[in-house]
Symmetry: D3
Subunit: 251 residues, 6 copies
C-alpha cells in the first residue's frame, strides 16, 4: 500500500475519524449519529410489530431503508425532494442499497412478522454518505432488534442478526487506490467503488464505477484489498459502540 499523503493528512489506506453517537434519538427504537470525518448521518431504526399486508402470514419479517439529504447538507443548497414532488434517482438507488445491505445480515424467519424501517438522513455531507449510512444503520438496527426482543415481539433464543455489516468507499486518484474518499477526493476519482462487507469479511455488495478511465483487473483487486481493510476496522468500531451504554437508552 502506498504512503501518499492526502489533503487531510491521511495515508491512502486510512479511514477518516469515525464516531458513533448511539441512541442519539429519544424517539426511535434504535438510533446512531455517525460521522465519517465531516460527513454526519442520523440513522434511526423504527420497529413495528407486524408486516405489510402482502407479506402477512408467512412468519417472516421485513427490513427496509430510506435515505435523504437535508437541503443544506451540501455546499450548495439543493431543492427538497418533497418540494419537487418526487424522489430522485440517486436517492432511490442509495435507499435500495442500504435496505439490501442490512437485509443481508438479518434472518427474516428469526425476526418474525415484524418490520424495521431504517431512516438515514444526511445532516452534513462530505463524501461517503451512503457508506456511513450503512455503517450507522447497522448500529441502529441492532438496538431496535434488542428492543423488540425485550418487548417479546422477537423470540428470545435465536437472534435475527446473522452477522454485522459495514461499508466503505474506495477509489483511484491519480493512479493511487485510496480508502474512504472525502468529497474533494471523490470528484477527482477515476474509479469509485462502494463495498459492503460483513463482520466475517464476506461481500454483500461490490459497486465499482469507472468515472474517468475504465479499470483493469489488478486495479479492481487493489481496491477490494483496501475496502476489506477499512470494513474490518469499521466492524470493530461498531462492536465497541454496541458494547458501551448508549446515550438515549435507559438501562
Amino acid at each position: 500500500m502506498t504512503d501518499t499523503t492526502r489533503a487531510d493528512g491521511r495515508t491512502a489506506d486510512q479511514l477518516r475519524p469515525v464516531t458513533i453517537e448511539r441512541g442519539w434519538s429519544r424517539q426511535a427504537e434504535g438510533s446512531a449519529l455517525i460521522s465519517f470525518g465531516n460527513t454526519r448521518v442520523l440513522c434511526t431504526a423504527s420497529f413495528t410489530n407486524g408486516v405489510p399486508r402482502w407479506m402477512a402470514g408467512k412468519g417472516r419479517g421485513w427490513v427496509t431503508a430510506e435515505y435523504a439529504m437535508l437541503p443544506r447538507s451540501t455546499n450548495e443548497r439543493m431543492d427538497r425532494e418533497a418540494v419537487k414532488g418526487k424522489v430522485g434517482g440517486r436517492t432511490h438507488e442509495i435507499s435500495r442499497l442500504i435496505g439490501r445491505s442490512l437485509r443481508a445480515v438479518v434472518d427474516m424467519k428469526a425476526l418474525g412478522e415484524n418490520t424495521i424501517v431504517l431512516d438515514c438522513d444526511v445532516l452534513q455531507a462530505d463524501g461517503g454518505t451512503r457508506t456511513a449510512a450503512i455503517t450507522g444503520a447497522y448500529v441502529a438496527l441492532a438496538d431496535a432488534l434488542e428492543w423488540g426482543r425485550q418487548k417479546r415481539f422477537i423470540g428470545q433464543k435465536a437472534t435475527p442478526l446473522i452477522d454485522s455489516v459495514s461499508a466503505v468507499s474506495v477509489g483511484i486518484i491519480d493512479g493511487t487506490p485510496m480508502l474512504d474518499l472525502a468529497y474533494v477526493e471523490d470528484v477527482r476519482a477515476e474509479t469509485d467503488m462502494n463495498v459492503v462487507v460483513t463482520g466475517r469479511g464476506l461481500f454483500v455488495e461490490v459497486q465499482g464505477t469507472a468515472e474517468g478511465a475504465p479499470f483493469d483487473r489488478s486495479e479492481l483487486n487493489n481496491l477490494l484489498d483496501l475496502a476489506l481493510g477499512g470494513t474490518a476496522e469499521l466492524a470493530g468500531i461498531q462492536q465497541t459502540a454496541l458494547a458501551s451504554s448508549a446515550l438515549g437508552i435507559e438501562g
Copy 2:
C-alpha cells in the same frame, strides 16, 4: 401567574431549557441547532447573491423558509413527504409562518438583491417545533447576514436587521394558561397559541386556536402576557448566542 407544577417540574410561566449550538453546520452561511427541551431543530441559512427572476432589478432582497420533520422525529414514524410526492398542509403552513416571521425583521432594501433561504429541519419533536424553528432561524439568519456583509454582497453601513425575533407557544390546560407547551401538554390544551414577538416586544404573529372550547377575551390576555414574558427571555438567549463565538465559524 399560577404556580402549578407541570409533568417536567416547570412552573406555568417557565420555558423549557433552551440551548443554541450556533454554527453547527460547516456548509451553511449561518446555522443553529436549537433545543427547547427535547425538541431539536437544525436551522440553516443559505445566502445567495441575486434574487429570483421575478424580483430582479428592484434593489430588494428576499427571505424565505422551509420547514420539515425527519420521519422518525416523532413518536410514531411518519411517511416522508418526498415519498408521498407532496408537501402536506401543516408543513406548508409552518414554512410560510417562519418565512413571514423572519421577513418582519429584515429591511429588504438594505439586504439588496440577495436571497436567504432558511431551512428548519426537526430532528426530534416534543412540542413547539415551529416556535423553536423561528427562534433558531433568527440566529442562523443573523450569521448569514454577517457573512454577506463580510463578502461585500451587502452594504457595509446599515444592517438589514431591524430587530430580533423569537416565538413561543402558550396554551390553556385544565383552565391554567401555560408557557412553552411540551407535546404531552399540547395534545391536552383547550386553546393553543403561537406568538411571534420582536426583541422590542412588538407582535409579528398571533395565532390562537381553540382546540377544545372557544376562549374569551381575558383568557386571550393571559396567554399574551405569558407569551411576551417567554419571548423576552428567548431574545436574551439569542443575544447571548450571537455574542459568543460560534462552533463552525472561523474567525
Copy 3:
C-alpha cells in the same frame, strides 16, 4: 371608533353588504352562495352517513373543509392547482382554518358516525374570501345537519350544533383599524387579522399577521374590538338566512 371614509364609502367599522343565497345548489345537502361585497363564495355541505375507516367504531362524526379559487376569480388569471398537480400552501392553510372553525361548533358525539365535507369555492375574489367562506359554510352546515336529522342519520333530540360561527377580517391601514377589508385595502394593510368568533362571542381563531410593521398590544385590542362587532352582525345575518325558507330546499 374612527369615522374615516373608505374607497367604497364605508366607515371603518362597517361591513360590506352581505348576502346569503341559502340552498343555491340543488345537489348538496346544504349550500349557500355568500357575498361580502364583490367577494362571492359558493359553500356546499356534503353529508355522508359513515366516517373514514380510521375513525370508525368510536361513535363520533367528522367535519372537514376544502377551499379553492376559480382560476379567474381574481384580477389576473391564476393557474389551476389541478393542472399544476398540487395544492398550494395558501389553499391548504385556508382549508384547514375553515375545517377547524366549523368543528369548533359541532358536538362530534351528537353528530354520530357521519361525515360532512364543506366545499368553499371562490367564484369572485375581492378580499375576505376565507372569512366569507367560514360564514357561508356555517349556513350550509346547519342545513346539512337538518337534512341528516330528517333522514334519521342523526339522533332527534340533541342538535350537534353547539353554537354558530362566523368570521371577519380586520386590519390597520394608515394607522386606522378597519373592519372587513376589500382587496385594495388588504394589500395596503400594515397588519391583517382574521378572527373567527362564535355566536356567543367567544374566540375560535385569532390570526394576526404584521404584513408591514409589527403591532403593539393596544392595536391588537382595537382590532379585536372591531372583529367582535363585525362577527356579531354576521351572526345575525346567518340567523335571518336560516330562519327564512331556502331556495333549493323543498319544504
Copy 4:
C-alpha cells in the same frame, strides 16, 4: 320527429330552458353563467396581450380552454382533481374539445399575438355540461374580443370571429332520438352524441359513441338532424344575449 314526452315534459326535439347571464364576473374580460336546465356552467374568458413563447413572432394568436367540475356539482361529491394531484382523462378530453371548438371560429391572424383562455367551471351538473360550456364560452369569448378591440390589442377593422359556435348533445333512448339529454336520460342512452355546429350550420365536431348497442347510418342521420335543429336555436339565444347589455360590463 317523435312526440314522446320526457320526464321533464319536453318533446324529443326540445331544448331545456337556456339562460345566459352575460358579464356575470366582474374580473374577467368576458364571462357568462349559462344554464341548460339545471346544468350551470360559469364561463370566463381571460384576455392576455402576447402569446406563449413557442408561438411568438408569427403574428398569430392562441385560444385555449380548461374545463372542471366543482366537487359537489354532482349528486355524489367527487374528490377534487387538485387534491388527487392530477387532471383526469374525462376532464382533459372535454377541455381539449372546448378549445378546438372555439378555435374553429377564430381567425388567429386577425386575433394577432394575443391569448384567450376560456375557463368553464361546472357549478351544477345535470347532463350536457360540455355542450353548455361551449355555448357559454362563445359568449365570453365574444366579449373578450370586443374588450381587446377597445383596448386596441386587436386591429379595429376585421373581427377575429369568423362565425359563432354552439353545441348540443343528442342520444337514442329506448330507440327514440332525443335532443339535449338531462343526466337521467344520458345514463340510459344507447348512443350519445355531442355535436358542435357553427352559426352557419357547419360541423366543427361530431362525437358519437355507442354506449349500449352500435348504431346504424340512419340513426346517425336522425341524431344529426336533431343536433342541427338544437344548435340553430342556441345560436339565436347567443345572438340575443350578445345584443343585450351585459350585467357586469360598464357601458
Copy 5:
C-alpha cells in the same frame, strides 16, 4: 370516389399495407404487432381472473385499455410521460377511446368476473396510431378470451365476443376525402375523422373534427362512406389473422 394519387401512390380509398403478427409476445394471453404502413403498434391483452373490488359480485367482467407512445416512435423525440409525472390529455383520450371501442363488442355477462387490460404501445408512428391500436387490440382480445375459455375462467358455451371491431381514419385534404391518412397527410387535413365500426358494419364511434374549415353534411357522408369501406377490409384482415396459427401460441 376520386382517383387522386397520393404521396405513397395510393388511391384516395386505399388502405396502407396492413400486417398483423399475432402472438408476437410470449408473455401476454393475447397479442398482436400490427402495422398500418410505417405505423407499428404492439397490442397485448392481459387476462386476469377477477374484477376490481368496486365491480365484484355482479357477475360481470371488465375490459379497459391503455395507449402510449415510445419516446422515439415519432420524428422528434418526445419526453416520457412517466418522467413528466403525468399522462397527457391526448394519451388519456385515446386510451378511453380504445377501451370503449373494445367494450362495445364484448358481452360483459358472458365474460363473467374477469378483467382484460389491453396495452397498445406505439413503437413507430406514422399517422393512424389509434385506429391501428383498436384494430390490433381486437385480435389480442380475441386470443385472450380464447385463453380464458381454455383455462375455464369463461363459460364454454356462449363466447363473450358479440362482433369484431376495427377502426380507420379518414380526412379531407385539398377538398378530397381520403382513407387511412399517413402522418404527412394528417397534418394537412382540413377535417379529420376516426371511425370505429363493427364487423357487421355498425358504428361504435364517430369522431370528426374540423382542423381547418368546418365541414358540411355531404362531406361528412363522403367520409363515412370511405370509412365503412376501409373497416370492412380491416375486418377481413382480422379474420384471416385469427384463422391462421399464431406466432407465440403453442397449439
Copy 6:
C-alpha cells in the same frame, strides 16, 4: 468452468442466442432491436445538435439514457409508471447505469456540443434486460454518431467513440457460477452481478449483490472470469452487426 447443463440446455459459460436488428426504427438516428434469448429490448439513439443550457459553451457533448419496461413485457402485467405518476427506483437505477456505461466510451470533446439520448424500452423481459439494453444501445449510439458525422455536426477526423461497450449478467446458482441468467435462474441466484466491459476488456461497472448468502473473494473472481468471456463474445456480435448494412438505414 463447470459443464452443468441448464434449463435451456446451455452450459454454465454460454450466452443465450443474441440477435441484433440494427436500424429497426425508421425515425431514430440510430436503433437496434436486441434479443438475449427471449429478452427483447428496442434501443433508439436520438441525436440533437446542441446541449442542455447548463452545459452550453464548454465545447462538450452529453449522452444520457432512459430505460423502461412495457407493462406486459413481464409475466404478470405491471402498472405503467406514467399512470402511477412516478418513475420507480429500479427504473431510475438502470437508466443511470446505462447512461454511465455509454458515456464511458464517448469522448465528450470529440462529440462537441451535441446530445444523444438513448431510449431502451423492454418489449419482452426474460432476465438480463439491463445488460441487453447496454449492449444494444451501443449499436444505436454508433449509428447515431455516424449520422452526426455525415450531417457534419461532428468533426470529420476523430471519432467520439473511444471503445465499444457491452454488458452481461453472471450469478451463482446452487454454488455454480453461471453466465447470462434467464429470469428463472435470476430469481434463484444467491449472488447476482452485472458487469459492463469495454471492447478492450476493461471494466466500466461491476455491480455485485448478494441476494442470498454473502460471497467470498474467490466466488467474485469466478464471476468476473465468466463475465469477461461473455462480454468479449458480445463485443464480437456488436462488431458484426455494425459491419453489415442496417435494416432501416439508407445507403
